[in-house]
């Protein structure tokens, strides 16, 4: 078996997400690459949750609508998803009385749990056992994974799983040992956190907000290991101001939120620009406007974050598309912020942030950049004129330097000015840093190219690249994924032979298309999806065939 798609569905509270990630881990042990997408409404119990697990020999970062195995913990899963079963696919379901009725492999999860005196959530362990059997996963692997990733009541969970394992029958999805290295599985949020820590982040401030909450939880859980400070303040305004305070004191600082929380940070963003205090802001996009569809995704905040803040100032913006990129470019964002004293933004989206990926740590190395520090000579001027607009840093506590930072327009020392020449000078000094940023990222890949050379070129960004890369592969197309969105890279060498330019993104107006057009690149066709679900590979192939080819 080279590549399969699995759907696990049930109610919130059934432990669907946990089950899905364990399924991924089971296959991962055989050397498979995995990608997990969790689809869940904004509620804690009930409703309908499902997770899609993609399992493949190659790295894949998208799912298909069509699945090879459906695991149904409730009836809704069948109602909603049975039609998505591929030919030759299997349905595995809880055949306990009153639960699911359908064709396929029935195992009485609920009854098994009852028999073993487990808690009702342990139905998911039964499902795991059954899945393992269907895929002919070695029982020893199941034990290993349970001991490692289900530390609570492991034995009971295993007993339940074993019973289901024994009751299920093997399917036609037999796992193979791929003899390739196993990879860790982490979420986009975890990758962001790791990238920040590697780039020297000392403090993380955040107010919980989907889809970025995972960064807060991950960093809080690991604060001692990373030797960092993690703070959850009263609201997002406090978050950004505290962060700027800590950065002023010399601590590298990051914050994380979603669109609505970022809206509250915009005044602070502008302060960061005027005071030239470095800050990195992670914005996880979700379906908006306003509260919108909070646990679902849209890529609809690009122009908002590009233009947020009163006044004119340089900023650095990256939009990674998978866990490795999230790791690496978060590091880049922190480094650019500190090297150039500009705000940097990591624009993620729910599918990336909460998606779980096989993570290839060999792809990128994140190293902490050292900011330009004051040499201690002469009088310290916080906003000293310099060739590229970047003034050397000193921090309070330095006995030879008085460090004055401010939200007002100011002279080089940091004292308020309203004089016309000084105002113009400082506007210019700050804007000059755009060149410093460009210099800083000279050697960093701003755009990624995939696929074959083709007349039709597909532009995509963020997590949507996963489906695009696969679809393009299938259709023989070229894909370009800008990752650095500001300063926007020069794309001329990438598209000089392009006949037709097509954009693929999950929003209703074509935000990347607009950005391309603003940068002088004609877009011939936009493939958009805005029902707050990601593009699926098979669906995208279909749409490209219909609309583009």
């Amino acid at each position: 078996m080279e590549d399969i798609s699995i759907l696990v569905g049930g109610k919130a509270g059934d432990g669907i997400r946990i089950a899905a990630i364990i399924v991924a881990r089971l296959f991962s042990r055989y050397g498979y690459r995995v990608f997990v997408y969790d689809d869940y409404p904004s509620l804690i119990r009930g409703g309908h949750n499902f997770s899609l697990i993609r399992v493949s020999r190659q790295k894949v970062q998208a799912n298909n609508v069509g699945v090879d195995l459906i695991v149904a913990l409730d009836k809704q899963t069948i109602e909603k998803h049975a039609s998505e079963l591929n030919d030759g696919g299997v349905i595995l379901f809880d055949s306990s009385k009153g639960e699911v009725e359908t064709e396929g492999v029935g195992v009485p999860f609920k009854e098994i749990v009852k028999e073993m005196e487990g808690m009702s959530i342990m139905r998911n362990s039964a499902a795991l056992g059954a899945i393992a059997k269907v895929a002919e996963i070695d029982w020893k692997i199941v034990e290993e994974v349970f001991y490692k990733f289900l530390p609570k009541k492991t034995d009971l969970n295993l007993k339940i799983a074993r019973k289901a394992y024994d009751m299920a029958s093997a399917g036609n999805l037999k796992v193979e040992n791929l003899n390739q290295e196993m990879m860790p599985i982490i979420s986009g949020n975890e990758a962001i956190g790791l990238g920040a820590v590697k780039a020297g982040m000392a403090v993380y401030y955040a107010y919980p907000m989907t889809p970025s909450t995972g960064i807060l939880h991950f960093l809080a859980a690991n604060r001692d290991r990373f030797n960092i400070l993690v703070v959850h303040p009263e609201n997002e305004i406090a978050v950004i101001l505290m962060a700027l305070g800590s950065a002023y004191s010399g601590a590298k600082t990051m914050v994380g939120t979603a669109g609505g929380g970022f809206a509250l940070m915009v005044e602070g963003l502008s302060l960061s620009a005027q005071s030239e205090i470095p800050i990195t802001i992670v914005v996880g996009q979700r379906a908006a406007p306003s509260t919108g569809v909070p646990t679902y995704s849209l890529q609809s905040d690009l122009h908002f974050v590009l233009n947020a803040g009163h006044g004119e100032f340089p900023r650095f913006l990256v939009a990674p598309g998978d866990a490795e990129e999230a790791y690496y470019y978060t590091g880049v964002a922190m480094n650019v912020a500190w090297s150039c004293q500009v705000p940097s933004i990591v624009l993620s989206d729910k599918n990336l942030s909460e998606g779980n990926y096989s993570f290839d740590s060999s792809m990128y190395t994140v190293e902490e950049a050292q900011p330009i520090l004051w040499d201690g000579k002469g009088d310290y001027l916080r906003y000293k004129d310099s060739e590229n607009g970047v003034s050397p840093l000193a921090f309070p506590g330095n006995k030879s330097a008085t460090v004055k930072v401010t939200s007002y327009e100011h002279d080089q020392y940091g004292i308020t000015t309203e004089e016309s020449e000084k105002v113009a000078f400082m506007q210019q000094k700050r804007l000059q840093k755009t060149e410093a940023v460009k210099k800083e990222i000279e050697d960093i890949e701003a755009v990624k190219a995939y696929g074959k050379d083709s007349d039709t070129v597909i532009f995509t960004w963020g997590s949507t690249k996963g489906a695009c890369v696969e679809a393009a592969d299938a259709l023989g197309l070229k894909v370009l994924q800008p990752i650095i969105m500001e300063p926007f890279p020069d794309l001329s060498s990438y598209i000089k032979d392009a006949g037709r330019i097509v954009t693929v993104e999950t929003n209703a107006t074509g935000q990347l298309a607009r950005l391309l057009e603003n940068n002088g690149i004609r877009v011939d066709h936009k493939v958009l999806k805005y029902n707050a679900r990601p593009f699926f590979t098979d669906e995208l192939i279909e749409r490209l065939r219909k609309e583009v080819l």
Binding site: S28, M182, M183, P184, I185, I186, E190, L194, V197, K198, G200, A202, V203, Y205, N222, R225, F226, N227, I228, L229, V231, P233, E234, N235, I237, A238, L241, M242, A243, L244, G245, S246, A247, Y248, S249, G250, A251, K252, T253, E267, G268, L271, F359, S361, E368, F395, P396, G397, N398, K399, T402, V403, K404, V405, T406, S407, Y408, G414, I415, T416
Partner: protein, 279 residues
């Protein structure tokens, strides 16, 4: 190598109105700062007339945005707990735009000092009512006379959990210096409200000169609220100044940082183990 009273003056031109109560706060602060560890001292300001103070004193400062002094100061202290952080905020600033930050700073008992220049008016925006203006105040946004009752910031701070609560008056220099000095010495969140007449938009010198009196002794626990509410921020009651309340409890910075100094963090974190755990 401390700066004395004179060296503490920056070259910034002072643009407060003659007669403004802010001059006294400036002078008292400089006096108190003369004896402090100045390299580790950071002043934080909001936006308003009050805030210009930090431009005038030649020490580290973070001139922040309107209403956000306590949050900014908290961040500085958490970034480097060795710094002594003192915030200067206006009444519009701290009780209006950014009230929540002040309440949370008190709740957390973060070890900073907040000095509120309470002139009962928005000075810099030329005279609107603030959360502590008396009922009936005719400002430019309430020419009919404000219909709101003023907050009593002292009891709000007590309720929120401040461990040092004081009030002074810009026209009582000795008391003002004493209070700021004690506030800075206090380990924990220190609140100093200074009655500061705005000569131009709300000249309260006469009333305050008549009604202000020195507490002399810190009131016993059971009389704290009584003393705090003796004046209703309107026409009722005399106005005690001095220290109303002190208490010791663990500070937020200590509890959260446990000896860590984020500003000096230089650590290469190995993530290999963590990745292995996730494999």
């Amino acid at each position: 190598m401390n700066k004395g009273n004179k060296e503490l003056n920056s070259y910034a031109e002072n643009t407060w109105c003659p007669g403004c109560g802010n001059f006294a706060i400036l002078n008292a602060s400089k006096k108190v700062f003369a004896d402090k560890d100045q390299k580790n001292l950071v002043m934080v300001a909001g936006i308003g007339c009050h805030a210009k103070l930090v431009d005038y004193i030649d020490l580290n400062h973070f001139y922040s945005i309107h209403g956000r002094v306590p949050a900014t100061a908290t961040g500085i202290k958490l970034g480097n707990p060795e710094l002594t952080v003192i915030g200067f905020a206006g009444d519009g600033d701290a009780y209006g735009e950014g009230l929540a930050h002040l309440m949370f700073a008190a709740k957390r008992n973060i070890n900073i000092t907040m000095v509120i220049h309470n002139n009962g008016v928005y000075g810099l925006t030329t005279g609107q009512f603030t959360p502590t203006s008396p009922e009936g105040f005719k400002g430019k946004s309430t020419p009919w006379g404000s219909v709101e009752r003023p907050f009593n910031p002292l009891t709000l701070m007590l309720g929120a959990g401040a461990t040092f609560i004081s009030r002074s008056y810009s026209n009582r220099m000795e008391n003002l210096e004493m209070v700021i000095d004690e506030a800075m010495k206090h380990k924990g969140f220190s609140f100093v409200e200074v009655l500061q007449p705005c000569y131009t938009f709300y000249n309260t010198y006469k009333i305050y000169n008549e009604k202000v009196y020195d507490l002399e002794e810190e009131p016993p626990k059971e009389h704290v609220i009584e003393k705090m509410t003796e004046w209703n921020y309107g026409s009722k009651g005399n106005i005690p100044i001095g220290i109303f309340y002190r208490e010791t409890r663990p500070t937020y910075d200590e509890s959260m940082l446990r000896e860590m100094v984020p500003a000096r963090r230089k650590e290469e974190i190995d993530i290999e183990d963590l990745l292995k755990e996730n494999t």
